[in-house]
Amino acid sequence: MEGFMSVIVGIFFAVAIYLMLSQYIIRILLGVAILGNAVNLLLFVAGRVTREVPPIIGKGADALPASAANPLPQALILTAIVISFSFFAFLLVLAYRAYQTLKTDDTHQMRLAEPEDAAEPPLGY
């Protein structure tokens, strides 16, 4: 099962990276959103998958049954989902503001920090 899911995870990564290689901010954003899912799934599968038994300790028991899912990757992913969402939201607003100011979402035309005709640095002391 994990082997098959690994291929699915690979497809998630490939699609996310293909989108991020674009020169347009909007596609990069879509790629970032998918990349978050790809990484979460990677963590999930790496912790091995089991079917349908959540890691919740039943009444009367003191520990989980052996058939229960691995709780550790779930805890990690829970954190990761929230972080990647806030990251995505920040990027989205950043892109929105950049578009408002620069009237474009083409990264080739966003040359404010690295202008194409940057002067040579001064050679004195």
């Binding site: 082997g3 995870v9 300790i57 779930q74 972080i83 929105y96 202008p115």
Partner: protein, 820 residues
């Protein structure tokens, strides 16, 4: 000194740094009189270490220290023998005089407190260099002297010449320091010892090692740059941009001798080998000749002294490596004599500059009437520098010739070098000490009182007197009243010059107290010195007479000699000083070109390079180490509903890629997100599923809100080759991650952490939902961090939405000239 003195020794070693911390405050309160209490610090150190003189008489050493980094066997330890002690006394004794001198020289200067602070920091660093036993401590103090020297040379940082000189000194001596570090680490690896006192015991092992020559070259790289040996001599004359007290202290009496000190210190380890006895005399001799010849052409008093300093350092290096009897003894005598007379002469040059307003020897004359005491100090120092009896310089020169003279070609050649070098230095000594004082009185710009030494310009002859308002007193600048330097500025040169005389007269006591213990420490065996000031007919005396004769002739023909030297040097043209500028410009241009090439300013390029590297990092090691996973099997146990969910996820993904309008893209993004949530649900992670549902819903809503406000097309703009190239990179990365994951799940699972949480969630943390317990209890701090990240992001989003920038955004302007 007993072992119980260790805390006091430590205190004296950090005292200058403590004094440096309070110097600015003290100067604010007391003005230039702060020099007096501050000079008590080096004076106290001087007195403290005078007590140790008796303990090192027979070549013994005082050692001690504290463990610093025990795990690396690094200690803060000192080795105080005759060599260290002489240096310590020179540094602290001259340091006290320099502080007084600086009090008068920079009187009224706005940054006088800072200057005192820098000088004291340097003093502490230099003391550290000479007492260090541990390699690492030696290196740290060594680099600290370079840094404090940088601060002092660039003291007048509003002038470009100062900044250039400061950077040049730092690059040359700091770079040399790195070579020294490499050399010391190499020696550390060769022998396994990291202190100098132990290393001397391992001298045979060092000499037998195949890395001997490499270690020697690296250490010489450090010593030669610090002691301004040819071809690294060029930074020292430029360092004369510093205020004169700095030139007198760092760039003649102490810091530039650190290189010579290191060579003397390591003489028992590296000495007595062919490499040592070839490299040192050859480079020292070349430096001696180059220094005196270039010095001849100068007209600025300080530059003349600077070049003779280079020459003297060359002579010292030559003697340290010469390897004959008397060679080390002569180096010791010359080193002490030089520190005394050169320090005095620099202070005299500063006093002339301070009172007369220029240091140009062609414009100075007849000052003896106005400045009799300065003249006396200058003459006493010059007589010692010229090597005339009964001064210490005479003893040194006699010993030098005793060491060099011989009948083999090597001895004859180096004796000739020494005669020429000493003869020219004789001429330069009297040019500096005599010319400004005798002859007719000239029309001079006059002193700069109050405004203090703002302009260390090297007094170009073309500068019109009194043209700068900071110099001279406007209104009466044509009839300046030149008078004696203030008392603070007279103490230093007089004391040093008289010390040179006293050492020459009472030579027996001087040898017993200072020079013999120092020579014994260098040679690592008992040495005695017997030379006295009474001239006696011998070969060295005859050579001395030849030297003096040459010196007198050159002095009388000084103007002609200057022209000849200038013509000779101009015919050479290029020198390492210009080479430094070319190298620095090349460095800036080269890094500019490389930066432009690597940082194209296109985000696409950066992202592409990043992912190519990631793909390579995933795929290459798996191939190299044969760690490719076995091919995955078709999941026969997977239910139809599971396969369908995976299929929906994949369809959603490709729909995003091929979406032609924004609504399709957003909806497709939602599809793959919800499919992931269902996958979490199917495989026992309900918490994740709920969170994912919520987050995906929010993402789609926000994305829709933003996208509908923008007139953007999310469709693929790429064509043909670009698409193929990006697809290839993406596929390589995807395959890499898939293979990594496959390989990871094919090795046995390590249950340790999972079992820990399973076992203790209920028992210790009293929670049944293990995932929740991990998040809020076991890893509570992580969750706090996560909440902080979300909060900060929220604030940033708020700021981005609320802040409106008015006006046009201009391109970044990195040119300080234009933006100023």
């Amino acid at each position: 000194m007993a072992a119980s003195d260790a805390p006091y020794i430590f205190l004296t070693l950090i005292a200058p740094f403590l004094a440096a911390a309070i110097a600015p405050l003290l100067t604010r309160a007391l003005g230039h009189w702060a020099a007096l209490p501050l000079a008590l610090v080096p004076a106290g150190i001087f007195a403290f270490f005078c007590r140790a003189l008796a303990d090192v008489q027979g070549g013994q050493a005082i050692t001690g220290g504290y463990l610093w980094v025990p795990s690396f066997n690094v200690s803060y330890s000192w080795l105080i023998d005759g060599l260290s002690l002489t240096f310590v006394l020179l540094i602290s004794g001259i340091g006290a005089l320099i502080l007084l001198y600086a009090g008068g020289y920079l009187k009224g200067h706005a940054q006088q407190g800072r200057f005192f602070s820098f000088i004291l920091m340097f003093m502490g660093s230099m003391l550290g260099v000479v007492v260090s036993d541990s390699f690492l401590m030696l290196f740290i103090y060594w680099e600290l002297t370079s840094i404090t020297s940088f601060l002092l040379i660039g003291f007048d940082h509003s002038r470009e010449a100062s900044r250039r000189a400061a950077i040049q000194a730092l690059v040359v001596t700091g770079g040399g320091g790195l070579a020294l570090l490499a050399g010391l680490i190499l020696v550390w690896n060769m022998t396994g010892v990291s202190t100098i006192s132990l290393l001397i015991e391992y001298a045979q092992a060092v000499k037998a090692s195949p890395y001997f020559f490499a270690a020697l070259l690296l250490i010489l790289g450090g010593a030669f740059t610090k002691s301004a040996q040819f071809p690294f001599h060029f930074w020292l004359p430029n360092a004369m941009e510093a205020p004169t007290p700095v030139s007198a202290y760092l760039h003649s009496a102490t810091m530039v001798k650190a290189g010579v000190f290191l060579l003397m210190r390591l003489q028992p380890v590296f000495g007595d080998t062919a490499a040592w006895e070839t490299i040192l005399p050859v480079f020292g001799g070349a430096t001696l000749l180059a220094g005196t010849v270039i010095g001849l052409r100068q007209t600025d008093l300080k530059l003349m002294l600077a070049y003779t300093t280079i020459a003297s350092l060359g002579l010292l290096v030559m003697l340290t490596g010469f390897g004959t009897p008397h060679a080390l003894e002569s180096a010791v005598l010359y080193l002490i004599a030089h520190a005394l007379f050169k320090g005095a002469l620099f202070m005299v040059a500063g006093a002339i500059d301070h009172e007369a307003g220029t240091r140009d020897i062609t414009r100075l004359g007849g000052l003896w009437r106005a400045m009799p005491l300065t003249f006396a100090a200058a003459m006493l120092a010059a007589l010692s520098m010229g090597g005339l009896p009964p001064f210490l310089g005479f003893l040194a020169k006699e010993e030098v010739y005793e060491a060099l003279a011989g009948s083999n070609p090597r001895a004859i050649a180096f004796t000739l070098f020494a005669i020429i070098g000493n003869g020219l230095m004789f001429a330069l000594a009297f040019a500096v000490a005599l010319k400004p004082f005798i002859g007719t009185e000239r029309d001079l710009p006059g002193g700069h009182h109050g405004a203090a030494a703002g302009a260390e310009t090297g007094a170009p002859p073309s500068a019109l007197p009194g043209i700068s308002p900071s110099r001279g007193e406007i209104g009466k600048r044509h009839t300046p009243h030149i008078h004696e330097a203030p008392a603070l500025m007279l103490i230093g040169p007089l004391v040093l010059a008289l010390a040179g005389l006293a050492a020459g007269i009472f030579s027996d006591a001087f040898h017993a107290t200072f020079s013999a213990p120092m020579a014994s420490a260098i040679a690592h065996e008992q040495r005695s010195i017997s030379i006295s000031a009474i001239p006696h007919l011998s070969l060295p005396f005859l050579l001395s007479l030849a030297t003096v004769a040459l010196g007198v002739i050159v002095y009388l023909l000084l103007d002609r000699a200057r022209e000849a030297a200038a013509a000779a040097l101009e015919s050479i043209g290029w020198g390492p000083d210009q080479g430094f500028d070319q190298a620095m410009r090349g460095l800036v241009r080269g890094s500019y070109i490389i930066t432009r090439r690597i940082q194209t300013g296109r985000l696409e390029t950066y992202v592409m390079v990043t992912f190519i590297v990631i793909a390579a990092a995933l795929l290459v090691p798996m191939t190299t180490f044969g760690e490719w996973p076995a091919a995955p099997l078709w999941p026969v146990d997977a239910g139809f509903h599971e396969l369908m969910v995976f299929a929906i996820a994949v369809i959603g993904l490709f729909a995003v890629v091929f979406a032609a309008d924004r609504l399709t893209a957003i909806v497709s993004l939602g599809i793959q997100g919800f499919a992931v949530a269902v996958i979490f649900m199917l495989y026992g992670a309900p918490d994740l599923a709920f969170t994912q549902f919520m987050v995906e819903t929010l993402s789609v809503v926000i994305l829709a809100l933003v996208m509908t406000r923008l007139d953007l097309q999310p469709s693929d703009h790429r064509h043909g080759f670009e698409r193929l190239k990006d697809a290839a990179i993406a596929l390589a990365c995807g395959a890499g991650f898939a293979a990594l994951l496959m390989r990871a799940v094919q090795v046995p699972f390590n249950n340790t952490l999972t079992d820990f949480f399973n076992q203790w969630s209920k028992v210790v943390a009293h929670g049944t939902n293990v995932v929740n317990v991990i998040i809020v209890d076991f890893r509570g701090t992580d969750t706090l961090g996560e909440i902080a990240v979300v909060t900060i992001t929220g604030l940033a989003i708020l700021a981005l939405i609320r802040i409106r920038v008015s006006g046009d955004v201009k391109p970044a302007d990195n040119d300080p000239e234009r933006s100023a």
